[in-house]
Amino acid sequence: MPVIDPSAGTVFPTPGAQNYLPAQSAPGDLTDELLNTDWWTDEIVASAGIPIIDVPFVSVGGGIGSFVTADYLRIGGVDTSQIRILSALDHPWETYEYLTRVSQIPRGERLRSDSASRPDNIWGFPSYAVSEAWRTKNPRRLWQVLVEPVFDDFYTPKAGFVFEQIEREANRIRYDEMLAKGLVRVVRRRAGGGYFTILTPPEGATSTKRLAFRSQYVHLAVGYPGLKFLPDLQAYRTEHNDYQHVVNAYESHEHVYERLRTTPSTVLVRGGGIVASRVLQRLMDDRLLHGAQTTIIHLFRTFIDGPNDGAGSLKPHPFMKRKGADGWAYQGFNYPKSVWGGQLKAEMRKLEGAERAAKYKVMGGTNTPYRRYWQKQMKQGRQEGWYQLAIGTVESMQPHNGRILNQLKTAQGVYPLEVDFVIDCTGLEADITEHRLLKDLLEHSGAGRNPVGRLDVDRNFELKGTVSGNGVMYASGSTTLGGYFPGVDTFLGLQVAAQEIQADLAKRGFGKRIGTLRSTSQWLKWFSGKQI
């Protein structure tokens, strides 16, 4: 069996199977020896027949998190040959667009994101509102961003505009040159420093089943570990094999809306967050604009009807009091605004352990923005009787004459409720161990959990416990929620992380510091659309 000399493994993959390493007679798959070993030597990787590719920096994920990190590094002067983004996605916005589209934010609708949260622009200037006003030659959005949130709703950008701008920036930084397609199976520390990241390329793209990327730095931005359905909903679906009438808002469920437009029906919506708001808007738009005759029962487990905080206090501290009414807790964005630079960011940075977890709880809790349009729709629905509220939980669900019979458990007792569809908008996230790669990191690479159970990262987003010689592993995004910086799972949060990671790498000699001169000259290039 030919063994690849590790020192000769310096081939950068370029798109096209013909450019990968020549065929090996070895299958090039992971062996038990590899899987059972925490620290890998070059020799055991090579002896498994897995081709080794050297690149200093690898980002795993290929979504918005990898994109903004690569963007920072490119602006910090790192060449595309020094970065590989390992991803199953063709475009960084792919997963995000899927999730927003099915949860009822198609390209023409507006996200829940601040005007200056631009993944395509590390400076956040000009903001989306300014760009939109310029593009549409309409100052309306400038006015909105000026008077928000007091005299108008918060300005938020249209999903489609965000994706178009990310595409522009991806082309500008030559993102495709850095992309290596495939699924990452494991990341292990390398004896002698750095890491091995094992990629499974698409079938037939390479002669071996796996490729090993040998790098000094690894960045993980794999996104949500997975969706978790409410246990009672999942039980119903599995037991009755009914995936048509009971759906989760994060899976494609367009068939529900199609049916509702043609057949007068009753829908049970569960959840009190942004996704519930979006789904309600869709249901109400279809009713008000397209003639659907849908009756909506909205079930809140926790009904908020006044000042609240995430910890569920009935009398929150005057300094920690969020507005709420009609079941909802109202908040402009998914975190209080000052987590991205202000007071809450500064406070959280100093907290450890249980104190930090408690702070997360107080500022957390399900919430949704107060939007005038939604308020108007809900008010009309309540008045006309086709939007009804219920408070409680579902004790059981049974199929009944082609419909679903729910037993609602409320403070007044258990009531039967028959509906045609159930849309679950509770948006639970699975534990990080549901993700194979993250599970492996916890078991084999020294990674640990933070006070809220996700990956434990330091203030510079280094994944604690995973240092390997001169190598560093970083992580950003939702898998790191609960760290010194809240808001990691947002556009701005990913940029905050990318900025810290880039600065840390620059200190280690990988890329340059982005000081005033570099920042200014690079912004001019961004502004003029010059490719770098």
Binding site: D114, A116, S117, I122, W123, G124, F125, P126, S127, V130, V145, L146, V147, E148, P149, V150, F151, P318, F319, M320, K321, R322, K323, Q331, G332, P336, K337, S338, W340, G341, G342, Q343, L344, K345, A346, L492, Q495, V496, Q499, A503, I514, T516, S519, T520, W523
Partner: protein
């Protein structure tokens, strides 16, 4: 994105000391009533010193806001309360070092030009020159 108290004070001092001084230098010769540089720079210094106190007050008010933010519009409208206070002190001759009367129009023009410039700058172009500024609470050091 949002500043902390420390960051707000630092940004304010930097903005007034740097841009405020440049604008004052340029604008003083064309102000009505022909005030001298000594007068206009003392007014600028007064705005700065009082501004630090105002920031502490705004910070206190912010605590009642869940988001702990200070909307962009407030930052613009604060020109009214801050401007009135400086003008009242000038009228009452409580600002040390200023001799003679300062014409209201001269004060108004200078104050508004500086305020508007700094408001626009901190809400936009400032981010180009210092990428860390917006995520670090508006701190410069």
């Amino acid at each position: 994105m949002l500043p902390t108290l420390n960051g707000r004070i630092q940004t304010r001092i930097f903005m007034l000391a740097f841009f405020g001084s440049i604008i004052t230098l340029l604008i003083t010769p064309v102000l009505p009533g022909d005030p001298d540089y000594r007068t206009t720079f003392i007014i600028l210094a007064t705005v700065l010193v009082l501004g630090v106190i105002w920031e502490v007050i705004y910070h206190g008010l912010m605590q009642w806001r869940w988001e702990k933010d200070w909307p962009t519009l407030f930052g613009l409208l604060n020109a009214i309360n801050e401007g009135i206070l400086v003008w009242v002190l000038l009228e009452l001759e409580l600002v040390p070092g200023i001799e003679g009367e300062v014409p209201f129009s001269a004060f108004l023009i200078m104050f508004l030009v500086i305020w508007l410039f700094i408001w626009v700058w901190t809400n936009g172009p400032m981010r180009i020159f210092n990428i860390r500024w917006r995520f670090f609470g508006g701190r410069l050091v």
